[in-house]
Amino acid sequence: MTRIREKESDFAAIARWATALYLAIGVAWVAVSEWLLPSAAMRQSVINRSGFVAATAVTLYLVTTEYGRRMKRLKGELEEAVVEARAYFQSAQWGIVSVRETGEIRAVNPKACEMFGYSDSEMIGQSIEMLIPERMRIRHVAHRANYAAEPRNRPMGIGMDLIGRRKDGAEFPIEVSLNQLHVSGEPVVSAFISDITERLKLEREARRGETLTALGAVAAGVAHELNNPLAVVSSRVELMLQAGAKELSPQMREDLEVVHRNARRASRIASELLNSARQRRPERRPVNLAELVDETLLLFREQMRRDGISVTTAFPAGLAPVLGDRSALAQVLINLLTNARDAIAKNGGAVRITGSAPTDRPDFARLRIEDSGPGIPAEARERIFDVFFTTKANGTGLGLWLCRRIVLEHQGNIEVESEPGRGAAFTITLPAAGDHTDAPHGHGEAGGAKIPAPPERG
């Protein structure tokens, strides 16, 4: 910028000096001519010529000063454009790496430094391949040659997984768009780079959610088909127990009761599956987590008190409500509290429920349920959200699977931490309701037509 200003003042000075010089030489020439030439006619001709010299000098001066003014204005505009371009470059959300044809990095922006963990001086002058995992460098050089042969502005590596390499060696998925331009006649390629780690993670979670939904539909189909044969089994056993009460030996009676109990249990699994796969139109309303926890605890407090389990809750004042389906979220809490209670069993212990606003995800609210039970061994922890996985003798393997499904449907996530012998903690992170502050309590008043539900049986 300062260089431009210097050049501009140089130019004005030169214009002024050139005009003055031209005028001085012209006038001197006229004076010398008068002194040298005797004839009046000749002198007249010289005067005419010096008049011409003066006129051209004035014109020259006017033209050059006007030119200078225009140049000055242009330079001003250019200067602004440079400032603007630099601001874009500095504050862009893409990492921008500008590369010469040789692969040498000529400029990087702060985002690129942040992304790759290098300072700009560590990158400038180095080969672009420093930002690529070693195993891919040779291939990248070839790609670069191809691009130089036929440069177009385009996204890079369509259909390929592009990977960046940080200074510390960590690799991360990226998306790159290439633009070629010429700087001082030299071809330069600007690579606009986005770190897509977070996006891929969200996509993976969405896909997992879809898979689970599809799986749920299949499970529901299977459950539906199982229900009738199971109903036949248990009904016939009931008939035998009732009709043949007198003829049955105690052993046969006991055997039939075992058959009946297990047929009923299988039926219960099938109907729970159906229940969980039920296609409902989910509600999205602000749900106050502290209230939801209090209400749900009403179902547990009495039994937990009997089993010697203390329950404490802690919610910060002003914790944002989450946006969700109240009954579905209550189901999540019921399942988690049931597990916590079963884990602690009758030996007494503690359950702690806390709400918080995560600092790393400002638009979310977090709920944590900790129990003092025996904890979950590592191999079980990995599979704990899988359908039909259970560590309980009488479990259906559907509770946590359903929790995860519901939380994913809410665009949230659920995590488990546990060390054997030191209890377990489940953490649910759910999107906060944001501006949806209408219906602060809204339980039970679901919108739309009310459909009477059949009596729950269990």
Binding site: A231, S235, E238, A243, S271, I451, R457
Partner: protein
């Protein structure tokens, strides 16, 4: 003594048989139908005092059975037995005039209680 006639409609024949035998033990007179067409015919010809029907029938919808029974025999309670009902199916059953639900899988004892309650509401009472 009036013996109430109960029509049981389900394509799962063995389940119909279980129900009929159980209700038979309680001295109800049970009629069996295994499809929609069968059920409609028997409603017309036997005029049952109570209808138990599944919603999923091989040759049509249990909703039609409910509607037919309600039209022909306005006094007769109709109980639907089903494992899974979408909110749409549930509201269709309600509109058709269903009077009760038995959620599958149900225990025979539940069947007995539901039937008795429905008939008691009708002031027919169960057989002694």
């Amino acid at each position: 003594m009036i013996v109430p006639k109960i029509l049981i409609v389900d394509d799962e024949r063995e389940l119909v048989e279980s129900c009929a035998r159980f209700l038979g033990m309680a001295s109800y007179n049970c009629l069996r139908a295994f499809g929609r067409a069968d059920a409609l015919k028997m409603i017309d010809s036997h005029q049952p005092d109570l209808v138990l029907t599944d919603l999923h029938l091989p040759d049509g919808n249990g909703i039609e059975v409910i509607r037919h029974a309600r039209t022909r025999l306005p006094e007769t309670p109709v109980i639907m037995m089903t494992a899974y009902h979408s909110p749409e199916a549930l509201s269709a059953a309600n509109e058709a005039g269903v009077t009760g639900y038995l959620r599958k899988p149900f225990a025979m004892a539940e069947l007995g209680q539901t039937v008795e309650a429905a008939l008691a509401a009708l002031c027919l009472g169960g057989p002694l």
